[in-house]
Amino acid sequence: MKKLLAILLSVAMVMSLCVFTASAADVTEISLWTYPIGKWVDEATVSDLLADFHAAHPEIKVNVEYLDYTNGDDKVNTAIEGKQAPDVIMEGPERLIANWGAKGLMVDLADLIPEGTYASVVDSCTSANGEVYEMPVCMIAHCMAINRDVFAEADALQYLNEETHTWNSVDDFFKAVQAVYDAGYEYVGCIYCGGQGGDQGTRALVTNVGGGTYANAEHTAYTYASTENATGLSRLYNQQGINFDPSIVAGDEIQNFVNGTFQMAFCWNIGAEINNADALSFDVLPMAFPSDTTPSLQGGIWGFGVFNNGDEAKIEAAKTFIKFMTQDNDQYAKAVTATSFAPVRDLEGFAPNEYFAEYSLLSPLMGDYYQITLGWTTARTEWWNMLQRVMDTDGSVDAILAEMTAAQDASNAAAK
């Protein structure tokens, strides 16, 4: 019996020690970690893209790892701690610039950005010290969505413009919600505040309805505690059919929208419609957020960043990979199609799926990308906590403004 044990143990030990595969001498191996951006979560798609790269550059091998949003940050942070950070990572400025970039972990990619990339996008990918830590690949304007069938039934379509996907005015938005509520739908829209997931929706809603801003132009301080925003939130608070819910986050809201519990979703983009296509049983109308001026939509920008792990060869290989994926228009189109979002420079004839034309109408409405303001992590936490506290107030503008100010002060304190 113990002989058997001893043999088992030694075999196990030997087996594990031989896990390391010998790599060929002159192949540089780099690791690519990607967050789930459209189809970049799908192994088949990514392998296909990588196959093109490997054919063109046989001296570089790319190993892919897939992250998810729940645990991805923990994984990357622990990898950095464990001195095993990846070489290339695919995500957005709020992580690449504001988080890891600010900690000095990333490589400057300014020389990789091709001509024609939208200036505002490049701006968002530039750090406070002038270095560009992200090579942008795709972008999207986060919008909201309504259940067109229900709105038609409640005769609420008169309050919006279906051609431009905008609301006629903020007042009309509230009239529409009232109409749907009166038609018998108890839950029209929901301000989800259970966590930070999808908070771009609630931020866009409040700032557009109120007419205020979220952060200042230099991205050094937060400005959302204004009378305008407080008034907007107060109106939302007092509107029948719009509730606060601290037990759900955006993912749950989308699910509730798709199964018909809610009639509006505040966290929506083209990816959401594609992913839920087989479960949707009604017509979805993507909309801009209600505004009395031009709506300002929250942008999402995703791209590649390169970690500086001290290995020059790997950094060069990583840059080669990024150049391959983004320089040539056809290859770039392929990469962007995989993300299901829009390209960051003009690409002729780019129409990857049936929804693209409709959603791209909203792209020009993209506003300031302020997710790179200092102290962003704390600010996000403060925001949804503030919404929870607002739920308990009486809904008056003063009470809400007080809560907002408290949250803003805490965020600005962390922005130092």
Binding site: N77, L105, D245, T378
Partner: protein
């Protein structure tokens, strides 16, 4: 040999009759002068050699990180930057941190509620199922252990659905039966959220105690119980006066394990509420995770861990002391 109710003698082999209490170690029966130097050396060496494999892992992967944790709690440590020595500042900050006190209160509530309820509930269920035919007892024992083996991810997913404000089964049935007139946001209401967490914790905690209690009940000396019945004692009296004292060691073990587990309840909160709403389900464990992995304040998190460990150690020591006295 007189039957002593404190020892389930049927379970011990024949040589156990030689000793009736805990065996004292050799040198208490052999006087020091008789014990040769060689024997002492041999015993020492044997002791160390037997401990060695375990010690390697223990010191390397538990004690060393433990000391590093205490050590780092006196520093301002974060990612990718040298640690800065700040003495007791972390502990002072903790003292002034209202979220920390809320977390501590919540943690204590969870422990104070779930430990007795777990023990009482599992004892009750165990008494009920131990009277059933063997097949039924076995089946029910497995069933009550299922949440433990199903895994936290699965369990929380199902409970999240059950507590869903809009179409969860609780609201659905509650309204159907007439107990509720509108949806109750179980996980979104600070009044109920902690209770829901405790409820889920209970379902995952009672499995092991039930198994333990069923076996302990099986091992109770039946002859004593029979004698009590003949003397006219009711079921309840027989239970409390005879069975309960014999199960004391089991109860103590369950109390200690359940206390430690409820202090360390983490996955539930991470997957369901993230400490909300309004910090009503924030526990020390989750706050440590939040500080260390979301805010990158390693020193601060470690300081909290040290405080939590001290509390658990004191509680466990108290429980042991109370158990020993009985």
């Amino acid at each position: 040999m007189a039957e002593k109710p404190s020892q389930p003698q049927r379970l011990l082999p024949w040589y156990a009759e030689i000793r009736e209490e805990d065996t004292p170690l050799p040198e208490k029966t052999i006087s020091v002068s008789k014990k040769t130097h060689r024997l002492v050396m041999q015993e020492n060496i044997a002791g160390y050699l037997f401990m060695l494999p375990f010690l390697l892992f223990f010191v390397g992967f538990v004690v060393y990180p433990m000391f590093m944790c205490v050590y780092t709690s006196f520093f301002d440590a974060t990612m990718n930057r040298e640690d800065i020595f700040i003495g007791f500042q972390n502990y002072v900050d903790l003292f002034n941190d209202p979220v920390f006190w809320k977390a501590l209160t919540n943690t204590l509530i969870i422990v104070v509620v779930s430990v007795p309820v777990t023990c009482a509930f599992s004892l009750w269920i165990a008494t009920l199922i131990s009277k059933m035919p063997v097949a039924a007892t076995s089946a029910f024992r497995c069933i009550f252990y299922l949440p433990v083996v199903t895994g936290s991810v699965a369990v929380t997913m199902v409970w999240k659905w059950m507590f869903n404000n809009y179409y969860g089964i609780l609201n659905y049935l509650g309204k159907g039966v007439g107990l509720l007139d509108k949806n109750v946001n179980w996980l979104g209401d600070p009044k109920y959220a902690l209770g829901c967490i405790i409820l889920i914790l209970l379902t995952t905690s009672v499995g092991q105690p039930i198994v333990l209690y069923v076996s302990a009940l099986d091992n109770v000396d039946k002859s004593l119980v029979e004698a009590a019945h003949v003397d006219g004692a009711t079921e309840t009296q027989a239970f409390w006066k005879i069975k309960w004292p014999q199960m004391m060691p089991t109860t103590l073990y369950i109390l200690v394990i359940t206390t430690i587990n409820s202090f360390q309840c983490f996955a539930l909160i991470q997957l369901l509420t993230s400490g909300g709403p309004k910090n009503s389900t924030m526990t020390i464990m989750y706050y440590i995770y939040y500080n260390a992995f979301k805010q990158y304040r390693y020193g601060y998190g470690n300081a909290m861990g040290v405080i939590l460990a001290i509390i658990i150690a004191i509680l466990s020591a108290v429980q042991f002391r109370m158990g020993k006295e009985k």
